[in-house]
Amino acid sequence: MYVLPLSQLDALFETIGSRGPLYIPVDNNSGKADFKRWENGVQMSKALKTVRSAKDFFFPKTENLVNFKMNGRKIEVEDPRKELEDFVVFGVRACDAASFAIVDDVYINMKPVDTYYKNRREHGTVVTLACTDPAQTCFCKLYDIDAADPKGDVSAWMADGNVYLQPNTDKGNRLIDSVKSLLKESDSKVVESQQNVTREKISNLPFVKLDLTKYSGENMLKIFNSKVWDSLSEACLGCGTCTYVCPTCMCFDVRSFDTGDGIKQFRCWDSCMYSDFTKMAAANPRLTQKERFRQRFMHKLVYYPMDHKGVKSCVGCGRCLESCPIHMNIVKVIKTIDETPDQPEGAK
């Protein structure tokens, strides 16, 4: 483990930032935090988490896929990608860091590989930052994510006026090597005692002990057919807020834009909550908001785990609890299904 004084944080950012893009959480003019590119003078935010998750770096809200030029009856195809610069993201919390594996499993591990995403993942070095003051809306522990020991290429802790850094991967080692001159070696005693305090706080959070055992493939149709979806979805506006702030939501749309000089084909974030998500010329299998609402939560709690060894497509970051305009969220869904008498029992 390595350490440097907190007062040297700017020097650390400057050294990293001089080699390539560095992104840190920064307060914006509405008082919330978002990842911004570090520049001299930019201060890191003290917020618990950013409004949008770190998925933006690997799965941006819009991305040019391919360019076409029509030349009479011929079509020219151009892959518009340029060699990406290596970049560093500093200050990613454990929840967002855990979400990368969930998205990787679909975009990289399921063939064919999404090379756009993979390329960004390969060029990005993630420095995670341990939490010390979780919010009441946090429940990462429900999914066995340890906010006091975040994964990532380098893990960082801020304790006792110092920043402690622990490289975990080759990329992490290379990053540490590049700033070695600023660091001293250290034992992990201070970090461990902070971790104990944080873990104690986390175990007292209200939603870390929900029962998720009933969300299995065998119970899929029973949960699907439950009557609770009517009341859960009645106020849903069908906007995409939950989807877009969620670190594990990864649906996209492929669209075209006529630049006047050719066609730009791009992909953009999409939400299963939108009315046209499954609309076909002939019919729409999800005609009302209830079906769409149900789809999102069934996917997160049942369908994704069925294909991915039981891992839920949720990291307990609590963003949906904070951002939903009408305050519906995955915790309310889980609790409502829990409390409905005809629901299947979880394994005891």
Partner: protein, 334 residues
Amino acid sequence: MQDNKISSQLVSRAKELLSSGKVQLVIGWRKGLFDYDVTPSLFTTAEDIENNFVYNEWCGANLSKYLVKETRKIETAKDTVRMNNKMAKMKDPNAAEQPEPQAKILVFLKPCDTYSFTELLKEHRINRDDVYAVGIPCDGMKDPEKKELSERCTVCKSKKHVTYDELIGEDGSVQDSNRFDMVEKIEAMSPDERFAFWQGELSRCIRCNACRNVCPACTCEHCIFDNPDSGAAQKVAADDFEESMFHIIRAWHVAGRCTDCGECSRVCPQNIPLHLLNRKFIKDINELYGPYMAGSDMETKPPMLTWTKDDANPGVVNTRDTAGATQCNCNGGR
């Protein structure tokens, strides 16, 4: 005062109206996991209301828009029965007529919500007979993140309930608010400063459409942004240009109908102060066509839908803006 006393008054009145059969459905706010995450909800039983209904300082959600969908359901049910009766009568003139299902919805409306309600009635989006509106008092709603009074409540325009069947608590009056202060501040900026301000704000937009979906003025059956043939979509476009255009287009579409309820800014996950765009329109309409507040009564003809010979000519905006104001360097785009 939205303290416990008022909340329990609402609860007992709702239970009363439900049990007496005067209403069949109640739209109100449901308790959440904490005190601040109340959800707009339908209640159909007295028990549910007793256990889960709440009215507190976190009930910012404007319930009037839900009436569009709910009254439509009632009217469709009535239409279906009427049609079935007609078809039955065609087969057999002595066929018994099924009674039309009568249903009334009880909705609780804060003063600002009653403006949206009135505007929706004016636009024939809600069937008045299907609604039993109860006006409730409001001392301002809090922002769940900042835990202080929402900006929109600090410049509250009116404590008056415009349309209601019944009032709980006292009625209030139109307030002398300075809600155009921030608008004036932006107007006073140079064009370049103003552009930078809005670029900074609107660049955070993720096209979630929460603002459009919550807005009581946005009730188009088929929104232009949901129409693939329009060239625009309800999601992020190839570049950032459309993020800004979407909000300006939407502000134009609701101009003259926006009741300044402030929901758009409340729901924005990126905290973009969208209501300022709408307030600018309201201010301009006041100046160019005379003071007008959408939803403040059922009679006044909306200025954007009526034309008189004395209406301001299009050129007046250019004259007003160029008189004494600094020119920007865009040269009219040339």
